[in-house]
Amino acid sequence: MYRILEARNLAGPNYEMIVEAPRVAARCLPGQFIIVKLDETAERIPLTITDYDREKGTVEIVFQPVGLSTSRYKELKAGDAFMDFVGPLGKPSDLCESEDPEAIAALKKKKIVFVAGGVGAAPIYPQAKWLHEHGIQSDVIIGARTKELVLLEERMKKVANVYVTTDDGSYGRNGMVTKCLEDLIAEGHTYDHCVCIGPMIMMKFLCLTTKAYGIHTVVSMNPIMVDGTGMCGACRIMVNNEVKFACVDGPEFDGHQVDFDLAMKRQTLYKTQEGEAFLAWKEGKSHHGGCGNCGGDR
């Protein structure tokens, strides 16, 4: 069993938990994810790692319970436990993989911008934090539909230059993350590396924007998964016309080579007309950022 040490409600429908998982905490790096399974009858659910403490042996996760599942997850509190908590899964972010001084020096020369949409701020945070700890300053755009959904702003500000934008203009800048990025560029910012994590529809359009500006862009894919170790192939996506498994080949890929339209179609696999709400619940649990069309990001 993996004990929950802290559990609290963050902005809007988002929850944060700190879980005791020494093996994961000892090895994980920014960009990687874990899979949790609450009890015997529960699904395996992939969630991104938001932070970790190697000495305490703890891992922090942020997630958004959706629909019917909310009751089960909302009720979890400090002292409860997950039956299973496995990881770290996936490859670490390219940016945070090497402590080598030459690699760090090369990163220092880069102008890096992170673009977070909704719960996407959760996997962005450890990357920005890692860079900050290695003396590399980055810009972070946090996008949300509305003010109450803006996630991790205060913590992010401690490790990066943060720009908040809301779709309805209720907080920070007004408009979507694509507009915010274009505005920043118009204001004189230059970028040569972008990491974008959020709903698939957002990643798709942000990639179109960065392609026009010639900015290399990495996205983190969050398709349906079962085992997370390369065994089932449920998470297969097309990248540069090749089949890739998000769980072992990713989750990060070159955003300009990902077939988002196909990936979004595959997200709807477990939706049926008669069981829309029920299956949206199942699907919402099955990925960590929301695909933009199942309700997982709402």
Binding site: K37, T41, P88, V226, D227, C232, G233, V248, L269, K282
Partner: protein, 466 residues
């Protein structure tokens, strides 16, 4: 009751669930022998001086000896004889391809049916479980720690054998449940999970083996750290062949195309067929399974039980079907349609990208290929379509590169299989041994167990010499 007047040329038939009843149920199909039936069947064994059946068994069970004990109604001794050689007899009695191993070599088979060795093994193992009989534990303790990666057939066997030799063994399992293919791959109706698999694993635990689930070696911990930081003096890699293969034909990304691994994992490990479990599964109305091995039969018969009409599409003829004879027989009885000498060329989908059919081409057998089997060639102009809403690809699996790609100095071959000695499982790294599907590529439970046994002996020799 067994019919005593039955000719000694025929085996005692085994009771099975009626095909019509079992087509909607995940309960075990084969009901196994009762005591009288087992004793009657045991009397057919000729107790050969030079038993070919033993030579045909990958773990060399002393078959005539255990059958002799059955004949004398000493089931306890029969179990002791089997467990000298096998840690998972209740499993092997159910899933071994006996017709190609022990029973394939049985002298009785030259004229009539071979002795039902598999069913007798199953009877003995089930008797032992029902009567609370345990395996023998080690007397000596070596104080040396061995790590085993993967709680599948190879890992469980290697760990069980090492524990019997007195080693302190820990198995690291990536999934949340121990058993490997026995829990995620082989369905309940062929191998009951709680009643049989869990009990066999419990037996291995009783020998003193520790099992740590949710540890992905290569990600959660490295082999180097296991040896240098956690004090393991030797490591056995039994990580299996888990990566599914696809055909790379157009339409394979459509919704409704599954790997057999995903389909079976959702059902077997995650129990998607049960209402009280959360994992979803799409219940197809008409399902096409591509492939002819045991995994294809398992996927087809699972889809059938979920309510579908099921077709198997296989490019060679019936003779070449790699599945166990019993599985093909059961699949046919249950009403699975076999489209043989047929190969898919494209998966068809509707405007929402849902599978709506599969386009196939007829095949004919040509000259024998490298495997000795006649190679199938497409018949020009013979393309046709099968309407379906689900396609399950059961084309075989490859080893997972998670361990080999994160372990410096561990040699692999072109097929990404770990290079290891067939005699003792030694790899290119000192103190690291490997066996099972991770080395051979996808094979059978019993071959993996055989490799696990040999590696246990290899590890013992290595640690004694160290």
């Amino acid at each position: 009751m067994a019919d005593v007047n039955r000719s000694m040329l025929e085996r005692v038939p085994v009771r099975e669930q009626d095909p019509k009843v079992r087509a909607t149920s995940f309960d075990e199909v084969c009901l196994g022998y009762q005591e009288e039936e087992a004793i009657a069947e045991s009397q057919r064994c000729l107790n050969c001086k030079n038993p070919q059946c033993v030579a045909g068994c990958p773990v060399s069970i002393h078959i005539p000896e255990f059958i002799h004990a059955v004949k004398e109604k000493d089931f306890s001794r029969a179990y002791d004889v089997i467990s000298e050689s096998s840690s998972l007899p209740a499993v092997c009695g159910r899933v071994c391809p006996q017709e190609r191993q022990c029973e394939g070599k049985c002298i009785r088979g030259k004229k009539g049916d071979p002795v039902s060795i598999g069913k007798l093994e199953r009877f003995v193992a089930d008797w032992a479980r029902e009567n609370g009989k345990k395996m023998h534990c080690a007397a000596r303790k070596t104080g040396k720690k061995v790590a085993v990666i993967g709680a599948g057939p190879a890992g469980l066997t290697c760990a069980g054998d090492l524990a019997k030799m007195g080693y302190d063994v820990t198995i690291f399992e990536a999934l949340h449940k121990a058993g490997g293919v026995l829990v995620y791959g082989i369905p309940e109706f062929r191998l009951p999970k709680d009643r049989v698999v869990a009990k066999e694993i419990e037996n291995v635990r009783c020998l003193g083996v520790k099992i740590e689930t949710n540890v992905i070696v290569g990600r959660s911990v490295s082999i180097e750290d296991l040896m240098n930081k956690e004090g393991f003096e030797a490591v056995f890699i039994g990580s299996g062949a888990g990566l599914p293969m696809f055909m790379n034909i157009p339409g394979e990304q459509a919704k409704g195309v599954y790997s057999a691994n995903e389909f079976l994992t959702r059902n077997n490990l995650m129990k998607a067929y049960r209402e009280d479990y959360d994992t979803p599964i799409v219940r197809g109305k008409k399902v096409v399974v591509v492939g002819g091995g045991n995994v294809a039969m398992d996927a087809a018969r699972t889809a059938l039980r979920l309510g579908a009409e099921v077709h198997i599409v296989y490019r060679r003829s019936e003779q070449e079907l790699p599945a166990r004879a019993e599985e093909v027989h059961h699949a046919k009885e249950e009403g699975i349609v076999f489209n043989l000498l047929t190969n898919p060329v494209r998966i068809l989908s509707d405007e929402q990208d849902n599978v709506c059919g599969i386009r196939c081409i007829r095949m004919e057998l040509g000259e024998p290929d490298a495997s000795g089997r006649r190679s199938p060639c497409p018949v020009e102009g013979s393309e046709f379509e099968i309407a379906c809403d689900t396609v399950i690809m059961a084309l075989g699996t490859r080893p997972n590169p998670l361990i080999s790609s994160t372990t410096t100095g561990l040699d692999i071959n072109r097929k990404k299989c770990i290079v290891a000695s067939e005699e003792d499982g030694k790899t290119s790294l000192d103190g690291v041994f490997a066996g099972g599907d991770a080395v051979s590529g996808a094979a059978t439970v019993i071959l993996a167990m055989g490799a696990g046994r040999k590696a246990a002996k290899g590890i013992d020799a290595y640690l004694r010499a160290k």
